[in-house]
């Protein structure tokens, strides 16, 4: 049974998503419970896989579909890097799926079923993208992720249609570029399997076609992960998406493409050839641009969600910067920051979901008295904000530490300056929120869903909030274990030589 764990990560949510509407028709909430149960199953499978990988000393687990051996057949390849990300994604997915329940409480069966079907498919897409060992299969999951993502964004109410449509147009270009890049690679090597591709790409590393393919992939993933200056779709999409699912969309949807970029750059193409070196430089410049522009734009925003969206542009810049350093510490920093940022951003959007649920309005300057009304949310905001700024002992500090180490090792002193500036800008806009919450006079906001009691929010919303806040705090203490125990087991070959 446990040797089939890799496929269950994707299979369980996929089956549940397909059956969800049927179950919802039978009983309104049954579909939702089915999806939540399936995601819990996926999380359990992901943890099992992670344990297996660690037990195997970091050796990748290959799971072939239907007994077809690669390179003909499709396989899932699970190494330390992607199994830890799978645990992360399914963990956040589980929390957010639970969190969404109060939002669909008053809807009819069609909406509940539809919402949870899309949510399940989004999880399938993200997990599939991360687990797969086949570049075309990755495209399939990328599309599953994108299409369900468009749907969830469009569910958000007024203005969300336009945001979703805009994302659809730009996202399709990104996906097409990725497909184009895969086409080039296939034309050069005749294979779609990642391991095979890595072995066969060697003679082509200096050809112009290869440079073309790399360019397509970077732009394709860049659009999907909202890398500056390809982030145009992202602020609207994050702002207007369904408040129940926004945490998952904002936290995880940019991470799967970022992971795919790392997979291509470090595991398939290797970094020690001229094309890749210039590609890395470009990624680095885009990252720096994103960090600065994203942070400055975030300062100018009045809507909490928009501010966070721009802050995401900046944080994706951190990841891109880590990727571009091309050394071990940069790599570790990028991976760790993917994990940290997924958690912090989800946490912050969970808080926003709570504010939307209770008051219907999210204005930065109308958060006064939140510390009395939504105590748990406030604690989570403080922890996540400290982590975003990168102050110890929260998780964000440690990814910044590795990025700084990487910057010094690769002699990119400029990156250190940018990291410092970006942290300080983060500090400005997050302390502004903390000040608003604790110091300002109580904002007179009418309750949309009045809620008495200590938690301030329904239990299914309060628990994920508290869990994610604590995770951000404790992840900081366990980051060394994650790195020494997991990530270092699966470092790309480039660093081992």
């Amino acid at each position: 049974m446990s040797q089939h764990a890799p496929i269950f990560i994707v299979l369980l949510p996929l089956t549940a998503a397909l059956l969800c509407m049927l179950f919802s028709r039978i009983s309104r909430n049954l579909g939702a419970y089915l999806i939540i149960a399936s995601i819990a199953g996926a999380l359990a499978s992901a943890v099992t896989v992670l344990n297996q990988v660690i037990a195997a000393g970091g050796k990748a687990i290959h799971y072939t579909m239907g007994g077809w051996m690669p390179p003909i057949g499709i396989e899932f390849v699970l190494d330390p890097l992607n199994s830890v990300l799978l645990v992360l994604i399914t963990f956040i997915s589980l929390l957010v799926s639970f969190y969404g329940l109060p939002f669909v409480k008053d809807e009819d069966w069609l909406h509940v079923g539809g919402y949870y079907t899309l949510f399940g498919l989004l999880t399938v897409g993200l997990c599939g993208m991360i687990a797969t060992g086949d570049v075309f299969n990755l495209y399939v999951y990328l599309e599953i992720m994108s299409l369900s993502g468009y749907g969830l964004i469009a569910l958000g109410g007024k203005k969300s249609m336009l945001a979703a449509f805009r994302y659809l147009l730009i996202g399709t270009i990104g996906a097409s570029l990725y497909l184009l890049g895969v086409g080039y690679l296939y034309a050069m090597t005749g294979t779609l399997n990642m391991a095979d591709l890595a072995a066969l790409i060697g003679p082509h590393l200096h050809s112009p076609l290869f440079a073309m393919a790399v360019g397509c992939l970077i732009i394709g993933f860049g659009i999907k992960m909202a890398l500056f200056p390809l982030h145009g779709w992202q602020p609207d999409a994050y702002t207007f998406s369904h408040p129940g699912a926004a945490a998952f969309i904002a936290g995880c949807m940019s991470k799967a493409p970022a992971y795919a970029m790392i997979r291509f750059v470090y595991y398939i193409f290797q970094v020690n050839n001229p094309v890749m070196r210039s590609a890395l430089d470009i990624i680095g410049i885009l990252g720096v641009g994103g960090m600065l522009i994203g942070s400055f734009m975030a300062l100018a925003m009045r809507d909490f969600r928009r501010m966070l969206a721009y802050s995401s542009v900046a944080q994706i810049g951190y990841i891109a910067m880590g990727i571009s350093m091309g050394n071990m510490y940069g790599f570790i920093g990028a991976v760790l920051h993917m994990i940290n940022h997924a958690l912090m951003k989800s946490g912050l959007f969970l808080v926003i979901g709570g504010i939307v649920y209770r008051f219907g309005v999210v204005n930065l300057y109308r958060l006064g008295g939140m510390n009395k009304k939504l105590t748990i949310s406030t604690i989570t905001v403080v922890l996540c904000a400290l982590s975003m700024i990168g102050l110890p002992p929260t998780a964000g500090f440690f990814s910044k530490w590795y990025l700084m180490m990487g910057a010094w090792t690769s002699q990119n002193y400029f990156y250190m300056v940018v990291l410092v500036i970006s942290s300080l800008l983060n500090a400005i806009y997050f302390f502004r929120i903390i000040e608003q919450m604790f110091v300002q006079r109580e904002a007179s906001l009418p309750d949309v869903h009045p809620h008495e009691g200590k938690l301030g929010l329904p239990v299914p919303m309060a628990i994920p909030l508290a869990v994610i806040g604590l995770t951000v705090l404790f992840l900081g203490w366990y980051s060394a274990d994650i790195i020494n125990g997991i990530i270092k087991l699966g470092l790309p070959e480039v660093f081992l030589r």
Partner: protein
């Protein structure tokens, strides 16, 4: 002898735990404040229990977990750290009772948050004192910034808001610079454990790189130590309740700053390397300038707390200057002054707080004749003032004597003059307060109303005054600050004889 012992972490943890208990005891003020008091006594006990071992040369060390892939979250006791740990935990005990009295007398809001943040600050200070490596140090350094931020913001009004912003701007920027410095040190040296005499050497990097790193790190320390021109946050932060000003802005936060300067000079770079790379003089000049200028500014302040704030700025620079002279006696004097200034300044601030609580007067020009109404308080104030001015038989004299000897030992007698001038200026800005209180009668009989008397505030003041006198008469009385300072200075300067001393 190195002993693996979790007591350093217990000392940090006890107040952390107390902070959690305090947050949950919102409804029962007596319970809440007793948590704080109990924690302070336990913490002091834990620290004192390690003192005999440290004096005998033992090292207590413990690694709780890994902070990064290679650096541990480690605390370790050494004489230098012990001075700071004993000092802070010792002063926190009377301070706690004073806080309770002050907060109740003034009927302040948000007392739960206040006591919780206070306890958190003390955890951070213990961590700073006993950190084994730079990264552990930095974790607590930033924790202290975060924990003291709500205390500065305590009044929750516009003034407090702008003061707290100023505070954050200064401390966060300096923290980030410090982080860059730490990364650089770690990358060039491959280690970051504090080593007496420093672990960097001139073969590790080009001279200008070492100079640049030193400037980055010392800037960070200087912001918290309020060396001019980086002192702007300190007078602004006086908006906080007086106990906060007393403990944090005269003992904990600013002492953290000078302590980090001492750590950087003595345990990261080391006197030998600093003499080689020839950059320490800038620090000396800045410190000497700060001593004189801040004293001159202090004379012009009418607000009592602000005057004390500028006095703090000047006194801290004594320590920075002592450290930057790089001679054993000067470093010993610096550690001793860390203690001396803390004891005297906490007394002054507590007196100021009591005066404010009872008379509701903030300005010195309004303190007509309060000496008759508050005789004990003003007596303590006068003793502490004389101590700051360097009178013999009060603790301030012992440290200044060593600092002056250190300047001679380093071959820079000019700084003796600076110290003398600064001491005279200190007398010039503190003694008029006493004169106002004792010898001037209220011409209009305007100030007649006095608030309630509170022994919870008066007794701690007497205790710290007695400590100041005891340390002045018998410097090496238990807990042996003098001997600890001597040990710290000797280990830092071991093997470094270029100054011509033994």
């Amino acid at each position: 002898m190195t002993i693996v012992d979790a007591r350093p972490f217990l000392a940090v943890g006890v107040t952390l735990f107390a902070a959690i208990l305090i947050s949950f005891s919102r409804r029962w003020p007596n319970v809440r404040e007793s948590w704080s008091a109990i924690a302070s006594v336990i913490k002091f006990g834990i620290i004192l229990s390690m003192l005999p071992g440290v004096l005998a040369g033992d090292v207590y060390t413990y690694t709780l977990c890994q902070l990064t892939d290679t650096v541990g979250f480690t605390l370790r006791t050494d004489p230098a750290g012990m001075i700071f740990a004993v000092l802070a935990s010792m002063l926190w005990v009377p301070m706690n009772f004073y806080s309770i009295g002050y907060m109740r007398c003034n009927q302040e809001r948000e007392q739960t948050g206040y006591f919780a943040a206070f306890a958190l600050c003390m955890s951070a200070v213990m961590g700073i004192a006993m950190a084994e490596n730079l990264l552990t140090f930095f974790v607590f350094y930033e924790l202290l910034t975060l924990a003291s931020y709500p205390l500065v913001l305590h009044k929750r009004n516009q003034d407090a808001l702008s003061a707290s912003r100023k505070y954050l701007i200064y401390t966060l920027i300096s923290g980030q610079l410090f982080l860059v410095g730490i990364v650089a040190v770690y990358c060039i040296a491959g280690t970051m454990s504090f080593t007496p005499g420093g672990f960097l050497n001139s073969g590790m990097a080009p001279r200008w790189v070492l100079q640049a790193i030193f400037v980055l790190m010392i800037l960070a320390g200087s912001v918290k130590a309020a060396v001019m021109p980086l002192h702007g946050w300190l007078p602004a932060a006086m908006i906080a309740p007086t106990p906060v000003s007393a403990l944090l802005h005269a003992v904990a936060v600013v002492k953290t700053g000078v302590f980090s300067v001492l750590r950087i000079i003595g345990f990261v770079f080391g006197p030998q390397l600093l003499a080689e790379i020839n950059i320490i003089d800038f620090v000396s000049w800045a410190a000497a300038g700060t001593m004189l200028v801040s004293s001159l500014i202090a004379i012009r302040q009418d607000h009592l707390k602000r005057r004390l704030a500028f006095s703090t700025i000047g006194q801290l620079s004594y320590i920075v200057l002592g450290a930057s002279l790089l001679s054993p006696l000067a470093i010993k004097g610096a550690y001793m002054h860390l203690v001396a200034h803390a004891v005297m300044k906490i007394t002054l601030f507590m007196c100021a707080g009591l005066i404010i609580a009872r008379t509701h007067r903030n300005n010195i020009s309004e303190l007509y004749g309060i000496g008759k109404k508050l005789p004990v308080t003003m007596a303590c104030f006068t003793i502490a003032s004389l101590g700051i001015a360097g009178m013999p038989f009060i603790v301030g004299f012992v440290s200044k004597w060593n600092l002056a000897l250190g300047a001679l030992q380093a071959g820079k007698p000019i700084y003796v003059l600076v110290w003398v001038a600064s001491a005279i200026l200190a007398a010039a800005y503190l003694l008029p307060v006493c004169q106002m209180a004792y010898f001037r009668d209220d011409p209009e009989e305007k100030f007649r109303k006095y608030g309630a008397h509170s022994n919870a505030m008066l007794i701690p003041i007497c205790i710290t005054t007695i400590i100041a006198i005891l340390l002045g008469v018998v410097p090496n009385i238990y807990p042996h600050f003098y001997e600890l300072s001597d040990m710290a200075a000797k280990t830092i300067c071991a093997g470094w004889t270029a100054g011509g001393w033994q």
